[in-house]
């Protein structure tokens, strides 16, 4: 077999078995984003806490999960934990691994978003005697979220592709099902061309969605917020005094 068959590639693209794998990939991604965001938000709040113990625990979590490969985390959860009597289904293992890992990245994104909201915003909220909850919900969170969208988009793009690692622990997502088709028919290029096309479609769709989100949440800042002079020189004082 020394040629590439476009028709075979197209037929793999419309292969029902492969399509179901695409759905699993999408499902894994969505679940990991939702779970990762919730967990990541919690970890970010701990990390920003003034309690050194809580902040330290959050820092350790982030250090650990960002410092080790997702592949090892998945294998340990799937094959390692049963040694200690902890056993999950394949799909649960994949979700636990992906969520724990994604949360570490998202926590840092959430934290940087909040840190980028200027101190003046919080001071204005205090001066208006807004409650901490209203300050968070109405003042800091919406502004932080807008700043989080670009890095969030990046992270979700990576996550979408990282779900392919779940194939190693035999989750039948897009990558794993491509492998299975390939082993059955030995049309390596044709099968992976179809899989590649699917990954490109998914990442492109996410790109488009992200752009719409950015546009939607950026609407109020469309007009440039005026930069405030860094300092107020004394020389600016009015001239008319002592006339």
């Amino acid at each position: 077999m020394s040629h590439f068959s476009p028709t075979a590639a197209v037929s793999y693209f419309f292969n029902y078995f492969l399509m179901k794998g695409v759905l699993v990939t999408i499902g894994l991604t969505v679940a990991a984003v939702v779970g990762g965001l919730i967990l990541g938000m919690g970890i970010a709040l701990l990390r920003m806490s003034s309690n050194p113990l809580l902040a330290g625990a959050a820092r350790f979590y982030i250090w650990f999960f960002r410092g080790t490969p997702l592949l090892i985390q998945l294998v340990v959860i799937y094959s390692g934990l049963p040694q200690l009597g902890i056993k999950f289904s394949v799909i649960t293992c994949a979700l636990v691994g992906l969520i724990l890992n994604e949360a570490a990245y998202l926590a840092e994104i959430v934290r940087s978003g909040f840190m980028a909201v200027s101190a003046g915003q919080r001071e204005a909220a205090w001066a208006l005697s807004l409650s901490p909850w209203v300050t968070f919900r109405r003042v800091t969170l919406p502004q932080a979220f807008r700043l989080m969208i670009p890095p969030l988009g990046n992270s979700i793009n990576s996550l979408l592709k990282a779900t392919s690692l779940a194939s190693v622990i035999s989750v039948e997502e897009l990558m794993r099902r491509s492998d299975m088709l390939m082993q059955e028919h030995f049309q390596i290029l044709e099968v992976y061309a179809a899989a590649t096309a699917y990954y490109l479609i998914l990442t492109s769709a996410w790109d488009a969605l992200q752009r719409r989100l950015e546009k939607h949440f950026g609407r109020s800042s469309a007009a440039k917020t005026r930069r405030v002079a860094a300092s107020a020189p004394v020389a600016q004082a009015s001239v008319e005094a002592r006339a």
């Binding site: 003046g120 001066a127 007009a223 405030v228 004394v234 020389a235 004082a237 009015s238 001239v239 005094a241």
Partner: protein, 263 residues
């Protein structure tokens, strides 16, 4: 009678205290940032309805002083009372003081993701429990007062600096504060926008609002202030009526300061 020997200046300062609690009372207040002493044994009393201008060179502690009044900056030592409520770190006291005080910042600090109107109604609705209709009426009342009711649906980023600062004043007034604090409200503005903000502040002063303003606008100080508080190196160096302060500054530091800023 002994009262006869009392000068008019003394009578003016003594009488209000006899009748009512001062708007602000600071006693031996200290604030440190590491090794730096931002406030060094500051005593200050502001009577109700009084208009105070705080001035002094950069780093003299004037912003820190005003920010301690509504506890945005926490003082390290000393006593601060606002309308008789002690800022003793109890949450309910801090909240009560903040409800009584409005603050206008150098950099406006409007919420950029909310319209002008939304900026104005957030606190009245969530803190004072007004309905949206009531809060809107209130907001439009004060936006009219600062002469920008037509900008209510715009976002802060679409307004000029002067307009933004007037919105910030309206937003603070919507909480019906008893004391207004201004922290260099015109320092970040382009020169042609300074006047409209100062005019708004003058109008507020004419209505009898208690005001503490940190500003370099000496024309405003001369025209509006009842008293000038001059600070240097974290201390209140002198306090006097504007006439007195500009004509006969007592301290050497105030003299050099005035020479530098008044051309």
């Amino acid at each position: 009678m002994s009262e006869i020997s009392m000068t008019t200046a003394e009578a003016a300062t003594v009488q209000p205290q006899l009748r009512e609690v001062p708007a602000v009372r600071m006693e031996a207040v200290y604030k440190h940032y590491g090794d730096f002493t931002a406030l060094n044994e500051v005593d200050l009393k502001v009577s109700k309805g009084e208009r105070i201008v705080v001035c002094g060179p950069s780093g003299s502690g004037k912003s820190t002083l005003i920010r301690c009044i509504n506890h945005i900056e926490k003082h390290d030592e000393g006593l601060i009372y606002v309308n008789g409520i002690e800022l003793d770190r109890q949450r309910k006291n801090i909240d009560a003081v903040r409800r009584d005080t409005g603050m206008v910042f150098q950099s406006f600090n409007l919420f950029p993701h909310m319209t002008v109107l939304e900026n104005c109604i957030l606190a009245p609705m969530t803190v004072n429990g007004l309905s949206e209709a009531e809060a809107r009426d209130l907001a439009m009342h004060f936006l009219t007062k600062v002469r920008i009711p037509d900008q209510a649906e715009k976002f802060p980023g679409q307004l000029s600096g002067g307009q933004q600062q007037r919105v910030a004043i309206a937003r603070a007034l919507c909480m019906r504060p008893k004391i207004m604090l201004f922290d260099e409200p015109t320092s970040a503005l382009d020169p042609e926008m300074v006047k409209e903000v100062l005019e708004t502040m003058k109008k507020l002063a004419e209505e009898g609002m208690t005001m503490v303003c940190v500003t370099h606008e000496m024309g405003f100080a001369r025209e509006v202030a009842d008293r000038i508080v001059f600070m240097n190196e974290g201390k209140v160096v002198e306090q006097a009526a504007p006439e007195e302060f500009f004509k006969h500054p007592k301290s050497e530091r105030a003299r050099t300061f005035l020479d530098q800023i008044i051309h």
